[in-house]
Amino acid sequence: QNIIVVAHGQANDPFWSVVKNGAALAGEHTGATVDFRTPEIFDMVAMSQLIDSAINQQPDGIVVSIPDADALGPSIQRAVDAGIPVISMNAGADVARDLGALLHVGQSEFDAGKAAGERLAEMGGTKGICVNQEVGNVSLDQRCAGFAEGFGNPVSIVPTANDPTEVQSKVRAALEADAEVDTVLGLGAALVGEPAVAAVQALGRDDVLIASFDLSAGFLQSVADGQAAFAIDQQQFLQGYLPVSFLALNATYGLIPGGDVPSGPNLIMQDSAAQVIELSAQGIR
């Protein structure tokens, strides 16, 4: 059996490398060959072309993430027309069925952001920044939008590049420029969460709430140490593992679950952080 996964995040993105690890493990467990493909940058045009190339190879199943239904819809429908079973994951819960996908595994980015925002507001945050390391990447933009809605208080977006030093300086600048900011939400744990913690430490402030999407061992350590509030985990390992296993079962026995599988959100707080550090360091969480 041959299953192709087409995702919109890059293989060197810590988040997506966990998805890829999940898919690979499912491949091992089911005996299917799994090809994991991503465009080199967030690019919907390139992604639709990757789906087309997957269709041409007539695999036994395709797993896709759908951050832009308009852009990817035709390609996904072509896969369905060609008789290839499709499962969507990560992004696209709302449109998966309409496009002919069998089911969706994942969480809505917007909902996850909203949950985080609500929690941070509960914890006493009054003014927040959302640190976005890839402005224009729709999934990341949705996280910030959800955060703004759930938080209920003023939120501004801090755009940064993919560079920890710059993130640290920018977070520090934002905190210094407006002393009322007391909440920082990062959209990636290693890239943003860790430098944000470092920035707050350097400022010597202990009244700033820091939360981050996704997990990294360093950030989880900060959560465990009480320097950061929590990490938002959507257990993306499942987003790689489950669709591949489902498609493998489907190809062998025709089995398929009857509904979507929510893989998150799951907030990791101080009490549970220590347990997942090791798994995170291995690329499983």
Binding site: R37, V45, L50, Q57, A69, D70, G83, N137
Partner: protein, 368 residues
């Protein structure tokens, strides 16, 4: 040419074979790389890569990149860079989306308006470069940021907060101009061929290849036109001269400023064309469109033999350069290699293709 006969009388030149003469042309330099890459994938990739559907599949991104690459090549031959074309794809896409979706304009107005916007921005780029005498690298870099930022702001403004504008496909579905900028051409012919069993059919009975994606036709047409302009018109001569030595060209009476401004407008127009094609094709646009395309366009031009210092290169070279780049990026997904190795392979293949080109050309032409 006419004088070849009289020349062979000169004892100071050796006769050369047809192959040598062909390989000397910069236009054909990049063919070696295409052949090498093709052979590589014939060996390593799934055979579906070279089915009709597979070929269309890798030619589509190559065509989109190639349209930009050919324009970038012409500008590079003219001695300048335009780093803003990637952002221009996003910006023009935003303008186009807004015109079509928010303002409901038909394509016959929306496309020329988008093009006019782009050309004006290109002219501004060019005017700043000429007026200040700054390197175009830095001026267009500023526009890379400005246009990218403006796309983000514009999209948020017109969609009420999202960075994604949707609904283009519905808006243009019935427009008579749509088939020229989107979808597949010669659909009838391909359906007929499928019925004849010449090409594969899907379960639904539709042909596996619904036609030739229009961008491929645009790509070929633009490559042909650009080659004609560069090699066979006074304007082409001016472009080479301007890029070769601005001062000498101007001293010889070439209208250097006019040439440069026109070239900047040209690259912007190429970006707008790609924007229109991809926005209609995908039905949406977002703030990340065209990200890094400026570099890929320059890469395609350089693979095709353009010199970064200007004054040398060809449109056909950029044509093949784009195909090489497109084949390598899409082709690797037809092979069994792990995605983690993707970039290593991409880099190695590019290097190999270019080195091979070069080695062949040197060998054939006897340069040392």
């Amino acid at each position: 040419m006419a004088q070849n006969a009289s020349l062979s009388a000169d004892e100071r030149i050796k006769t050369e074979t047809l192959t040598t003469r062909l390989m000397k042309r910069p236009e054909l330099g990049a063919i070696g790389g295409v052949i090498l890459v093709t052979i590589f994938f014939l060996i390593t990739a799934s055979p579906t890569m070279f089915t009709l559907a597979g070929i269309m599949n890798f030619l589509t991104p190559a065509a989109q990149l190639g349209i930009l690459g050919i324009a970038a090549a012409m500008l590079m031959i003219g001695g300048e860079f335009d780093l803003s074309i990637g952002s221009m794809v996003a910006f023009a896409g935003m303008i186009f989306g807004v015109l079509v979706v928010n303002m409901g304009l038909p394509l016959i107005f929306a496309i020329p308006l988008t093009m006019a916007f782009a050309a004006a921005t290109g002219a501004v780029n060019g005017a700043i470069v000429l007026r200040t005498g700054l390197p175009s690298f830095i001026v267009t870099l500023a526009f890379l940021f400005i246009l990218r930022g403006a796309s983000l702001v514009g999209l948020k403004l017109f969609t009420g907060g999202s960075t994604q504008l949707r609904g283009v496909r519905e808006a243009v579905a019935d427009d008579w101009l749509t088939p020229i900028f989107s979808g597949d051409a010669f659909g009838g012919a391909f359906r007929w061929m499928a019925q004849q069993g010449w090409i594969a059919q899907l379960n639904s009975g539709a042909p596996s290849v619904p036609g030739i994606p229009v961008e491929i036709l645009w790509f070929v047409a633009i490559a042909a036109l650009a080659t004609f302009v560069l090699l066979r018109t006074p304007a082409g001569n001016w472009i080479f001269a301007t890029g070769g030595d601005k001062q000498a060209a101007s001293n010889s009476g070439v209208p250097v400023r006019r040439v440069k401004i026109s070239l900047f407008m040209l690259t912007a127009l190429a970006a707008a064309l790609v924007a229109v094609i991809t926005v209609i094709d995908t039905g949406s646009t977002d703030a990340r469109r065209g990200f890094m395309k400026e570099f890929e366009a320059i890469i395609a031009a350089v693979i095709g033999g353009c010199l970064l210092t200007g004054g040398y290169g060809s449109a056909i070279g950029a044509f093949f350069g784009a195909i090489i780049f497109g084949m390598v990026t899409i082709g690797l997904s037809y092979t069994g290699f792990d995605q983690d190795w993707f970039q290593v392979f991409l880099g190695a293949m590019l290097l190999l293709a270019v080195v091979f080109n070069n080695a062949i050309r040197k060998r054939v032409t006897g340069e040392r």
